[in-house]
């Protein structure tokens, strides 16, 4: 190991194992959070000026005034298609424009008509379409209530926590004094001219936002520390725009369960934050993160879901600045005494969750998604920010990564190791050491002297590679990428106008301004085969460190006063990683002339990142708790649109015990993104290094993944089409069963597979909750049938991965597991038909070429498989689509069947033939031998 590496490790990483909390701010150390959180619920100083209301067909606007400082805000209210209400609040006349997040919404959301139901001096009532939904705007104090019938679904500012720090001149500076003097003179002159007490003029004046100066005079707000400058550790944030935070509260009557706002290493169900810090959303490179706390991590999706047995709703707070979310509940932590008090006082309070969002800058732009079902919220959110990109099939296979595979020889021998041990894999990964001195888009000239040769070797085996490309660019005048970015002025600037420089892997580095479309276009062009030397079509990309990570920056990230054109980094920090992945994915698409689907993994993300590829949960550790937390972390991401999620199998830091490694493979095999990864300091851990027994266990887990690839692919196709998550919490499919609401040690893939991985050391058994009182579930390994709505104890051994198929479903598998997914392309399918108690089942089969965008041109096969009345049939769901496949149906396994006397296959042309079968009476399993029809054809199979 080169001593240089050791040196920077020591420099960058410090010497302890747990996260160094002192490196990251608490709410108290973040001036705006402290300021805002000091504000307690009470009567809001904001009042709606109903006379300013303007209602067009699709938009209502209304001014709000803060009676304390007379600053006016503009409220905009939209009814969006698909049962979404958008509430936007900005300063009516801000001193300078405030940041509104671009590029995250896939389009300007289409609106629907709003109509005025009633109006009086206390407020207005608007109709939200047909479902007897209304918005009540109350004037004094201002609040919004969204109702359905007589039921309040959500209230805004009901606790009076709307706060909008208007932009202002700095009072202790010379320019302020000049301006305020001029303004007061002007003010005086105006007063003289309007002294005839003209009520019209009076009103006009009140409505005149130019009275900012007057407002300032009224404003008794004291200047607090941290408004104009803030220092954390040795870093000073210059804050030239002063305080600019925004905050709003949401009350959710009848709600006890809220979810989402990733990324946090915490339980699926969000906790109340009264006794600690709020959940923080601020993309940070957290070294050795700690579990079960609300600290910020690498990514941020400001979307929260609220759920009860009746309804699911969502709040999307579109703001890219540092954000904190407080959650409180009137039921959580209520003591016996408290409940007794309720009883004595006769109050039977309905449960309620109160949420409060606080952001450092920007505006309030919130989308209220009204469900009512979980799937409705998913499509509503997808209609705003888009769906999961449809990944190449191969990226759903197994990925082998390590920091680092040392050289081409190493890559070759690891590749050979998979063949030798007959373990399939699709991708081998190269971390930062593959580059020439951490100059991305280059190769180490000694260790990776002939990258194309290496890539060709992988291609010959139908395998692929991912190489890392991080957004920090080494400042080096001999480095083409750096020179181009510098000469084009594409770097982010520091507050003094020079190119921002920070310390990262290559030493001193610049950070390209990915918020610029011209920068992104240029970046994308760098992935062209003739630009990215040594790249080939089986080389894909990994964007790490894109929070962005700046080793010597405040909280290991960029200074907030760095500049992206006219905007401060403060305004858009959380979208930096989103843009990096966007530009990279665009590059991979462009290099193939728009033909091939990209695959890009990112660590940082924001709302909308689902459109560009996969994410992983960052630098976890080889500990059992980290294995456990991978489930809620990915479930939370799935709820907010990001389905392609995984955790480093084995754990990144430290070295896993063999048992932990095996269990992690077994868990990871059933999570969307399946990649093993390891830190440079850890001993090697390729799957065959732990004795033949463990190699066999790992091989079996990986093979199970590969047999299920058709189902995974289908789930991703659905996610891409509809925005439904691939990996789902149970409550999403069983929304009326409260027993599912807090489960996060098991999950569903789609709606038909339930997985309860073993995540306890030395486990002898697990207890899985099988939901649905009308459901039956089949153990996919033994085919044993279990009733729903029960806690089932399952004894386990080291080879057990408890997985159940829902009765009523049909799941296609490919049982001929080969060395990579591409090798299995033409292989036949086995259909697993699990009958429900009505002896029915349904499923789908989706087939396309697996890697191009041709599916957008209707080049795919999409069929509905259904079993009812002893007839299994395949129906074309996309009659206009055209695609042919060599694959055929080699076997049909019907679970929960009874023995037929004969089975007849009827082909599309009406020709009939007998199908041989076997029946296992002990497990009621009927196996049809080699029916043999093409997977794309129409057919029926009749059991008699």
């Amino acid at each position: 190991m080169a001593p240089v590496v050791v040196l920077w490790l020591a420099m960058c990483l410090g010497g302890t194992w747990a996260v160094d909390k002192g490196n990251f701010k608490t709410c108290d150390q973040s001036a705006f959070c402290k300021r805002q959180r000091a504000l307690k619920p009470g009567e809001s100083p904001y009042r709606a000026l109903l006379e300013t209301m303007e209602l067009t067909n699709t938009r209502l606007t209304l001014q709000l005034i803060n009676d304390n400082n007379k600053v006016r805000l503009l409220l905009e209210l939209y009814r969006l298609q698909g049962n979404i209400t958008r509430v936007k609040i900005n300063e009516l006349k801000p001193l300078k424009p405030r940041y509104e997040v671009p590029d995250v919404l896939i389009r300007e959301p289409p609106t629907e008509p709003l109509s005025l139901l009633s109006q009086d001096e206390n407020g207005v009532v608007l109709s939200l379409g047909a479902e007897s939904q209304r918005v009540i705007v109350s004037a004094r104090p201002f609040r919004l209530d969204i109702m359905e019938g007589r039921e309040v679904l959500m209230s805004l500012n009901s606790r009076g926590l709307l706060a909008f720090e208007h932009l202002r001149m700095r009072k202790d500076t010379f320019s302020y004094k000049v301006t305020s003097t001029v303004a007061s003179v002007w003010d005086y002159i105006k007063r003289v001219f309007t002294s005839q007490a003209d009520p019209e003029a009076e009103k006009k004046e009140e409505a005149d936002p130019a009275n900012q100066a007057e407002a300032e005079n009224v404003d008794e707000e004291k200047v607090e520390d941290g408004m104009w400058e803030e220092t954390f550790k040795s870093h000073t944030d210059s804050k030239p725009n002063g305080p600019s935070a925004v905050s709003l509260d949401f009350s959710l009557p009848g709600v006890e369960h809220v979810y989402g706002i990733p990324e946090h290493a915490d339980t699926l169900r969000l906790k109340t934050t009264d006794n600690g810090d709020p959940y923080r959303l601020y993309n940070l490179d957290v070294f050795q993160y700690e579990l079960y706390n609300p600290m910020a991590l690498y990514g941020a999706v400001p979307v929260m879901l609220a759920h009860n047995t009746q309804r699911t709703t969502g709040i999307f707070w579109l703001n890219a600045a540092e954000t904190w979310v407080d959650i409180s509940s009137n039921t959580a932590g209520k003591t016996v005494f408290g409940k007794m008090l309720d009883y004595v006082q006769g109050s039977s309070e309905t449960p309620q969750t109160d949420v409060r969002w606080i952001s450092e800058s920007g505006i309030i732009d919130v989308f209220i998604m009204l469900g009512p079902k979980p799937k409705d919220v998913f499509s509503q959110y997808a209609s705003l920010t888009g769906t999961q990109s449809f990944p190449p099939l191969t990226s759903l296979g197994y990925h082998q990564c390590r920091w680092n595979y040392n050289d081409q020889e190493d890559v070759k021998s690891v590749d050979a190791g998979f063949d030798e041990h007959d373990i399939p894999y699709d991708f081998i990964w190269l971390d930062i050491e593959h580059t020439d001195g951490k100059r991305y888009f280059t190769w180490d000239t000694h260790k990776f002297a002939t990258p194309k040769e290496m890539l060709q070797g992988l291609m010959d085996k139908k395998r692929k590679m991912v190489a890392i490309v991080d957004p920090h660019i080494k400042v080096d005048s001999n480095y083409k990428i750096h020179n181009e970015i510098r000469s084009r002025g594409f770097y982010i600037k520091n507050k003094d106008g020079g190119d921002y420089e920070g310390w990262c892997w290559p030493g001193s580095a610049g950070y390209p301004d990915f918020t610029r479309i011209d920068m992104r276009d240029w970046w994308a062009s760098m992935f062209a085969y003739d630009q990215y030397e040594g790249s080939m079509e089986n080389l894909y990309t990994w964007n790490d460190m894109n929070e962005p990570s700046v080793f010597n920056g405040p909280e290991v990230t960029m200074h907030k006063d760095a500049m992206h054109g006219a905007w401060e980094h403060r305004d858009l920090h959380n979208t930096y990683g989103f843009y990096v992945q966007m530009a990279t994915a665009e590059g991979l698409i462009k290099r193939s002339g728009g033909v091939e689907r990209p695959f890009v993994l990112t660590r940082a993300f924001f709302a909308g990142s689902q459109r560009y590829g996969a994410v992983w949960t960052g630098d976890n550790a080889a500990e059992w708790d980290h294995l456990k937390i991978s489930i809620p972390m990915c479930l939370s991401l799935g709820l907010v649109g990001i389905s392609f999620c995984g955790a480093d199998v084995g754990g990144f830091f430290k070295s896993p015990s063999t048992e932990l490694l095996v269990r992690w493979y077994q868990t990871g095999a059933y999570q969307p993104f399946f990649r093993a990864h390891a830190h440079l300091d850890t001993p090697r851990r390729e799957p065959w290094l732990f004795g033949p027994e463990n190699t066999a266990l790992i091989r079996e887990a990986v093979r199970q993944r590969y047999t299920l690839l058709p189902y995974w692919y289908q789930q991703f196709y659905q996610a891409h089409r509809t925005g439904q998550p691939v990996m789902r919490p149970l409550w999403v499919e069983y929304p009326q069963d409260p027993a599912t609401f807090t489960l996060d040690d098991e999950f569903l893939i789609g709606k038909d597979l339930l997985v309860h991985p073993v995540t306890e050391e030395g486990a002898r058994g697990v207890t899985a909750y099988l939901p649905g009182k009308d459901e039956v579930w089949f153990d996919v390994h033994t085919f044993q049938r279990h009733n729903g709505a029960q806690n089932l104890y399952i004894p386990v051994t080291m080879s057990s991965i408890p997985v159940f198929q829902r009765g009523g479903s049909i799941i296609p598998r490919k049982l001929r597991v080969r060395r990579s997914s591409t090798c299995m392309e033409h292989d036949p399918y086995t259909l697993f038909v699990a009958l429900n108690s009505q002896r029915k089942a349904e499923g789908e089969l989706y087939i396309d070429d697996g890697h191009t965008f041709n599916y957008e041109k209707e080049e795919f096969i999409h069929r509905r498989l259904s079993f009812a009345n002893n007839i299994l049939s395949s129906l074309n769901l996309a009659p206009d689509a055209k695609f042919t496949t060599q694959s055929w149906i080699e076997r049909i396994v019907i679970l929960g069947a009874s023995k037929p006397s004969k089975i007849t296959l009827k082909a599309a042309d009406g020709q009939e033939s007998q199908v041989e079968f076997e029946f296992d009476a002990s497990m009621s399993v009927l196996t049809l031998r080699k029916p043999g029809m093409n997977s794309g054809a129409d057919w029926t199979v009749t059991l008699q």
Partner: protein, 529 residues
């Protein structure tokens, strides 16, 4: 259409098999052919089922052991036999049949995938033959060299054993000599000790005399200093001006206390003063020195004043950076402690006043010289004995060292072999240590010291393990595994670091070469087809 389709799919498969003249059954390993009898029901090789013959190789898995599909990919646990005429035959997992990747050099695994495979068996066979021949040649030569090494080692061992015997004889003589010289030394040291003690005693007596005279002189001086009025008496009043004489450290030095000091009288003359001198001399500060020392004492007390709080704000400024260099701060504190000057300088001065001991007289000096000579000779002989002991230990270690079954690795002992890579120079000193040194300057890193032979049980001498090298940051101590392979020379051929701080070194040596006969049988086994 389904049935036809299925036949469409299979027909070309079977046709291609048939037309190519390779019946699906013929793809079998010759010795298994007996089980696949055309037209007769087939019993799975694990006896799990019996199926009609048309279900053999029909692209559907009927047997649990996969034996019904030796020519298709239908069974997950099946295997396919590559005949590979011209090269080595082999088995591949049946999942590699028709996967578009050429596995068998005779291309038989890709009969229906459209993969453009070339028959490379002849070429591979030729290459393997060449390499086997080369290996055989190396092995033969290596084995010959190994025999020489063994003989050499044997000779070396005999020599060493002989040498050991010789040295052991020498050692006995030396031991006797040491004992004799010890007696001589002790005999010479006794009179030396006595003479030295005498000399010292005389000097001590003289010193006591000098000290007493000095004390008397100081007493007289003090008396004169105290006797302010020069009346030849020191009175209580005169004493009171010397507050340092206050016996208890309360505020006032009272007359009564002064009186006690003067032996209970109001004043004393020179004679009586001599009697009370002991009460006074320890604490007394001469008026001449008191003036200069007094102001020096005041600043020492100040740190206890309440100025402390005011000093903190100043400290606060650098404190922000403290997190990063806390250790540095600690160092500074330590330095501070060391810098505080030690006080006992005054005592030293007193000693100096008394002068140095006069040199020994001639007689004593002669005795000392004689004793020293005896001591030197004794030390010299003892050193020689220790050297011999070391030699014996080293020889014994080398003789008992595990240099392989026939000591064939003995020639590596106390040798070193280097390999230069693009960045480092690696150095392997067998049975001692492995190290790495940057090519362009920098210090050497220990990659492990000799641990043990660590090959597999049947070939333990094929791997050396070096352990407990320099520690890695947050990681293990460096260690190196050295893999030995047969060669004519002794060379380090490659180094790598497969896992951080775990090095792998390839090392060739004749000492590991196997007897060619055993290799030849291996060679024949693989050429049977």
């Amino acid at each position: 259409m389904s049935c036809q389709y299925h036949q469409h799919l299979l027909l070309p498969l079977l046709l291609s098999l048939l037309t190519a003249g390779v019946s699906s059954v013929e793809v079998q390993r010759p010795r298994d052919r007996q089980f696949y009898e055309e037209g007769k029901p087939f019993t799975c090789l694990d006896n799990s089922a019996t199926i009609p013959f048309d279900r053999v190789n029909d692209d559907y898995c009927d047997c649990k052991d996969g034996s019904d599909e030796p020519g298709t990919a239908a069974c997950p646990n099946g295997s396919f036999y590559c005949t590979n005429a011209g090269f080595r035959s082999s088995f591949i997992p049946s999942s590699r049949i028709n996967d578009g990747i050429c596995d068998c050099c005779d291309t038989t695994d890709e009969y229906n995938s459209g993969a453009a495979c070339q028959n490379t068996c002849r070429e591979l066979g030729r290459k393997e033959m060449e390499s086997l021949e080369k290996m055989a040649e190396i092995a033969k030569e290596g084995y010959r060299l190994k025999q020489l090494l063994i003989q050499e080692a044997k000779r070396g061992l005999e020599e060493k054993k002989k040498k050991l015997q010789d040295i052991q004889v020498t050692k006995k003589d030396l031991e006797d000599k040491v004992e004799a010289l010890r007696t001589v030394k002790e005999t010479a040291e006794q009179p030396e000790k006595e003479a030295k003690e005498r000399h010292l005693k005389a000097w001590e007596d003289q010193k006591a005399l000098i000290r007493m005279e000095k004390d008397m002189a100081r007493m007289a001086e003090v008396f004169l200093e105290l006797d302010d009025d020069g009346d030849g008496f020191v009175s209580v009043a005169e004493l009171l001006s010397h507050s340092e004489l206050n016996p208890d450290s309360d505020d006032s030095f009272t007359e009564a206390e002064a009186q006690v000091l003067l032996g209970g009288v109001d004043k004393v003359d020179t004679v009586t003063f001599e009697a009370v001198w002991n009460n006074i001399k320890e604490k007394y500060i001469s008026e001449a020195t008191a003036d200069t020392t007094a102001p020096a004492e005041t600043p020492q007390e100040e740190p206890f004043s309440d100025n402390d709080s005011e000093q903190y704000p100043e400290d606060d400024i650098p404190e922000e950076e403290d997190d990063d260099d806390e250790e540095d701060d600690d160092d500074e504190h330590d330095d501070g402690d060391y810098k505080t000057p030690p006080t006992p300088t005054q005592e030293k001065k007193d000693d100096d006043d008394e002068g140095t001991m006069p040199p020994y007289d001639q007689e004593t000096q002669d005795l000392i010289d004689a004793a020293q000579k005896a001591r030197d000779e004794f030390d010299k002989s003892e050193r020689a004995l220790r050297e011999v002991d070391d030699q014996i230990r080293n020889l014994e270690k080398e003789i008992s060292f595990d240099f392989g079954p026939n000591s064939e690795f003995a020639y590596l002992y106390s040798q070193c072999y280097e390999l230069t890579t693009s960045e480092y120079i690696y150095r392997l000193c067998p049975f001692n240590r492995v190290s790495q040194k940057p090519k362009y300057g920098g210090s050497e890193t220990n990659l492990g010291t000799w641990g043990k032979w660590a090959g597999p049980e049947d070939n333990i001498y094929s791997v050396m393990k070096y352990e407990h090298g320099t520690g890695c940051w947050q990681g293990p101590n460096r260690s190196t595994t050295v893999k030995l392979t047969c060669g004519k020379e002794t060379v380090v051929t490659s180094t790598s670091e497969p896992s951080r701080c775990e090095y792998l070194m390839e090392f060739i040596s004749p000492a590991i070469c196997q007897e060619p006969s055993s290799l030849e049988s291996y060679f024949h086994e693989h050429q049977e087809l």
